[in-house]
């Protein structure tokens, strides 16, 4: 195992949310999981998906800079399929554990670069992404991109 470690510190708050501290920055995370489309926090699950999307978008941009390929914009949407959500709500009679079975990410790239160049950036990014490589053995990952001007 590597000696290189990354860590964050998480403090709970009276309102049920948490503060995450890392170096000189901190950010807020809401409840673990919410089914309320009007919930005004960012759930832990959503933060997790956001981290993956940022890994993909940021990773692509870094590869593009390195290769001097011009990209105008990247947008990633990440969606997780959650198994047994009713078990999370203590529904009597429900079985199984609440867990993500599949994550789909769709990445849109605005660029006039050739399809071959974009394809190369995509492959290089996937090969190097720490989150993708960590998740791959654990969940079904469905990752795709589309060039959209």
């Amino acid at each position: 195992m590597s000696d290189l470690r990354f860590s964050v510190r998480v403090n709970s708050r009276p309102d049920g949310r948490c503060d995450v501290r890392v170096r000189k920055r901190s950010f807020e995370v809401g409840v673990p999981l919410s089914f309320d489309s009007a919930y005004d926090g960012v759930t832990a699950l959503e933060q997790f998906l956001g981290a993956l999307g940022s890994d993909l978008a940021g990773g692509l941009l870094a590869r593009a800079r390195k290769r001097r390929i011009e990209i105008d914009a990247i947008e990633a949407t990440v969606e997780a399929a959650l198994n047994n959500p009713l078990a999370y709500l203590d529904v009597v009679g429900e079985q199984g554990t609440t867990a993500i079975e599949q994550i789909s990410a769709r990445v849109y790239i605005s660029s006039f670069a050739s399809e071959a160049d974009i394809q190369m950036l995509w492959a290089e990014m996937l090969e190097r992404s720490p989150l993708v490589n960590t998740l791959r053995p654990a969940v079904k990952l469905d990752l795709s991109f589309k060039v959209a001007l």
């Binding site: 489309s37 009007a38 947008e75 949407t77 769709r106 849109y108 605005s110 006039f112 959209a148 001007l149």
Partner: protein
Amino acid sequence: MSRLPLFPVTMVGSWPRPAELLRAQKAKRAGKLSAAEFDRLADAAVLEVLRLQDEAGVDVVTDGEQRRDNFYSFAADKLSGVKLMTLAEMLDIIEDKAGFEQILKTLDVPAYSLSNPTCVGRIERKAPLALDELRFLRRHTSKPVKIPLPGPYLLTRAMFVKEASRPTYASKEELSVDVVRVLRAEMADLVRDGADFIQFDEPVLTEVVFSGGKTRTFMCASLAAGGDPKVELEFAVTLMNQVLEGFEQVQTGLHICRGNWSQDESTLLRGNYAPLKPWLERLKVKQLVLEYATEPAGDVMRFEGQQLGLGCVNPRTPRVESEEEILAQAQRALEHYEPGQIWLNPDCGFGTFSNSPVNSGNVAAAKMKALAGAARRLRQRHQA
């Protein structure tokens, strides 16, 4: 308008833009290209679209909306008090993001690629919306010309983003007064300069995009009460008729579609025109330009007092409809309309959104050719 043959063939509006023009559009927006340089490229693209329409045998031509980013957001450049915002920017300011997310997902498009003209101040015409398009066409074709304009309801609904518009307009109703004023001024300009056909675009899709519907679920969905679209339809009819008042001498049309974003037909809104009928028939518009070549639109039905712009080729499919198929479609329309009341057009534009055209120029040209071929055969059958 010079005398038209029976079953006039026309476009709904847009045509796929060449890659060079798309690049120029982006560069112009980023301030890297002058307006004059952009116009030079756009002029060339319009001339090419005119040539293709001529070759296909189109009777009433458009400029393929080559100068526009899409069929309504271009208004942002021509109006003061309007800022072109990408949906990505709007997601930062609007409260209800769920509705937007849903639509982006369904359409498989990124938020950065869709731009909305958002009202951020009192709206006023800085320049006419489409007069430059008309004048250019007039100089380069002797054929009758159709000018598509965004409808008043669409513009009002799209531009009124309460988080951004409220400092100026308390409600979308208040904004609509100025929208109607702007469109009436535009109509006057276009009529004066000889537009033969003015078509207003009122796609139902925008209603869905901007209605911000609640997505929370009810205790027992089988009894959930649905929203009432009647108020909105009433609003739309009132605005449209206010714009049209006094312009009875000019040929006008209203185009309704159900989303023209991708070739995936399952992304289209489903349902036929029946729920809209009582409202559409009250419109003082001469022609309804409707989609009928796509299955979700249902069967051709009669609307009293208006001509039919019959959608009889699907702009989103790669397959070119045969003349026989178009004739069969026309036959279905003839069960409800007199020959003199029917125009032939595609269901919608071929490049509604400049950055995601639904077809190639080649297929578009072949489809228009098929329409014109079918029209010639219909004329032989029905000419007295």
